[in-house]
Symmetry: C2
Subunit: 552 residues, 2 copies
Amino acid sequence: MSTQATYSLGLDYGTSSVRALLVNTQSGEEIAAASYDYPHGEAGVITSPHNPNLARQHPADYAAGAKATIKQILKDSQINPDQMIGIGVDATGSTPIPVDENGKPLALHDHFKNNPNAHAWLWKDHTAHAEAAAITAAAEEKRPHLLDKCGGTYSSEWFWSKILHCAKIDPDVSKAAHTWLEQSDYIPAMLTGRGVAEIKRNICAAGHKAMGGVATNNTYPDADFFSTVHPELARIRQSLPNQLHTIADIAGTLSPPWSQLLGLPESTPVAVGAIDAHLGAVGAGIQPNVLVKIIGTSTCDMMTAPLAQKLPDIPGLCGIVPGSILPDAYGLEAGQSAVGDIFNWFSTFSKIPHDQLTRDAEKLRPAQSGLLALDWHNGNRTVLVDQRLTGLVLGLTLHSTPAEIYRALIEATAFGAKIIIQRFEDYGVKVTRVINAGGIAAKNPLIMQIYADILNRPIEIARSTQTCALGAAIAGAVAGKARGGHPTINAAIQSMTGNPIKTFHPNPKHVPTYDHLHTLYTRLHNSFGLPTHTENLADIMKQLLTLRDQSR
Amino acid sequence: MSTQATYSLGLDYGTSSVRALLVNTQSGEEIAAASYDYPHGEAGVITSPHNPNLARQHPADYAAGAKATIKQILKDSQINPDQMIGIGVDATGSTPIPVDENGKPLALHDHFKNNPNAHAWLWKDHTAHAEAAAITAAAEEKRPHLLDKCGGTYSSEWFWSKILHCAKIDPDVSKAAHTWLEQSDYIPAMLTGRGVAEIKRNICAAGHKAMGGVATNNTYPDADFFSTVHPELARIRQSLPNQLHTIADIAGTLSPPWSQLLGLPESTPVAVGAIDAHLGAVGAGIQPNVLVKIIGTSTCDMMTAPLAQKLPDIPGLCGIVPGSILPDAYGLEAGQSAVGDIFNWFSTFSKIPHDQLTRDAEKLRPAQSGLLALDWHNGNRTVLVDQRLTGLVLGLTLHSTPAEIYRALIEATAFGAKIIIQRFEDYGVKVTRVINAGGIAAKNPLIMQIYADILNRPIEIARSTQTCALGAAIAGAVAGKARGGHPTINAAIQSMTGNPIKTFHPNPKHVPTYDHLHTLYTRLHNSFGLPTHTENLADIMKQLLTLRDQSR
């Protein structure tokens, strides 16, 4: 190993584990990786037998994970600590954490440690749907412009909904919270030991999840608005800064305790964080007009557009936020609330093992099963922005097999993906390339081929299998610009992401059948998803049977 | 055993096996039983990997089954052959069999033995849906009154549709067929050795499945009508008799070869056959205004009304046929194309074994799962009369469990059952009692309790667990009236069926929730089942989630 080489470290906080990745800042070579499974809850998620909407995480797992993975990486790679020029961080979101006046999570106090309301409210927690509706209604009346940039509806998954729900159901926790930190702000704050007042909040989480974007001059909405909803929201708003930061900014340097713990210099800079999918898009090599889909348990669909372009409001999008992905561009976020989660859910109760399901599903032709599904098992994030939707499987017969249902579920997620692309393009954001990243993109060629066939576009697969961690390392390389890193995020992307490792091309024989099925999917989507849509559906089962019979 | 006792024998030809039951004609006591699994196909059903609609049986299994089971019963019971005063037969239907000029099934000729088109076309064969549509269209134009008594639509499951499909796809078989016999006519013909011209055809199969009922003066439709559809149909119509018979009639006595084979006197009378569910209703103790549901792989819902009552046409019913159940009453048949089949289908791919599914589903409260299903996995027999419908499951989340889906499928069959009762009552056929019979009624208290809760009526369980075979034995006891049997079917029912062994009462706490779910089921039923129905469905998933949340 050359002593001239420099490295940056990406810390990627996921739903079940945290991963650390050490990357050569010149080549993007991934030198070492380590991961740590959160010990609390089931696969890192604390749930409730009484409330299927509840999903929390214990913040104690975050520090334990950073310590374990970074130490492991430094040990495995044997690099000189001075060569490690910067750390970047991504985390799930919106995952707000109630903290005390020192920025310490309430869950780390004995009094609150077993109270799920004092834990991190994980992105997929849906307890706050009533509060989301209340905030949406208030904004419609008082600040309609706030909704225009977040798809017209404020989600139960987001920052203010969760804080409001906590205020209503657990006033003790609510009052004890000096402020709430997004997980992507908490991790840099933890590593740098910054006091609450000095924490640099990231525009990515603030913009996409807390209405802090273009509509509010790049800060959060005003406290007066929140006071019309609930006094606690107004109080929390007062605890937030007015300036927001991109990943090109430095959050601080390692605190003395963390420096000592990890054996890294106190001068090691830590970049401002961002939400995992946004840094995943960076790690996948995002550019204008390139859609990056991060496909894991859920899917995030990331686009950028130059700040100079005049963008219309796009109904159903989770946000249009300047600097949320690339510092010099609008970041546009769409997504599907569950993708891999649906496949895993199905495989947990199918007698056929997951890998056999995949092999069996691979042998099926489009429409051969006669099945059609809606992929709303965890609600619909884009374009309906409605968590109170559920999954559907139609076309079942006594001959339907697990592999057929499995394939129908895959197809449903691809039809949902197609509706998102149509929405981008309907509003002038042309999609010229699609890059898929994330675990499913890397590991499941069946799913990628179905996506190529249904989207009727080449599907490129990002070189890295850990684009979120790589994106975080890219931010770390820019944080370390004074120590041999890159001057800008774009320059770091050029050096560190590389070319796609594989491209799936649509099979022209499959395209017409999938186009037909997509029209049927769209009719179900609209019939069950749009409150004013009416049409007769009695031909759908019959069309599916006809397509099935023709496919044989 | 008293030497004065008399016995009759019921032969019950099911989908996978034939059962024989020896019954004391005075008490109804079931003395001995034997069953024989058909060796051909999978669980007795010959299917095709290329055509999921195909379901056939090999007629060789029928003789082998009669021989094996009757010999077994005579051996086990040690009765004097003279005490066995008569044999009755029930079989599946419509299950037509192409036969030669001697009444021998074509499949018993070497040339045809492996040709599925020369086999018995099992009731659940759905290859003939295009032909069903053609016959329906022809009848609408030329003989609209024919449709009025069979629900307005001629089914792909029925006699003429299957014969027409055979004529179109396999002219060799079609031409070789001198006539076609329903399975319920073939078995008595086989046992009595009657020539084709002497075979007494039963009004039950002819009326409910071949439009041979009240609209045609109790014979089949005229050959002129069939010649407008296809010359082969007209030719087959010419091969049929004009007189039809009830189970109170005697088909003949045992042929010398069968007498010798079984060790029974040649004077042993064999009753005219009927379809299994109709004799099942007899064995369950049917009376006017009593609905008997035979719940097995599918469900048959049987009602009777006095011949003197003026009945309107009831849209969606499979038929209104004089003498098809009780000789002195109209027989009304409704049904669901799949019930137990759906539960078995689901259990074949659930990781959780069937008995565990039942235990887990028992612990669930109504609406707790948020799921709602349509039970159309094998089409919808009543009231939509449409085989080209398919099953649906709605409300799926990442938390949905196999037991929840299993319970939703059970509930769906109960909601379907409720729609059938509503249809009877909407047309003046009042249902004062519900007796359930069949394997599921006897063995699955969870399903019966759900039926009681959803139908909001007491559900009585028939004493016999083999009501079809018992009904056949009742017909046998009347065939043997000259040898110490009963003078009439009603008299035999009085002596031989007994009181219900158990009654399930509705749980008043469950009724309002299930009423609500039934309105949602009805909306899905109408939206996917009625070609002109339009309504907005976007509230359904949300109502299910609200009911779910309220149930906790």
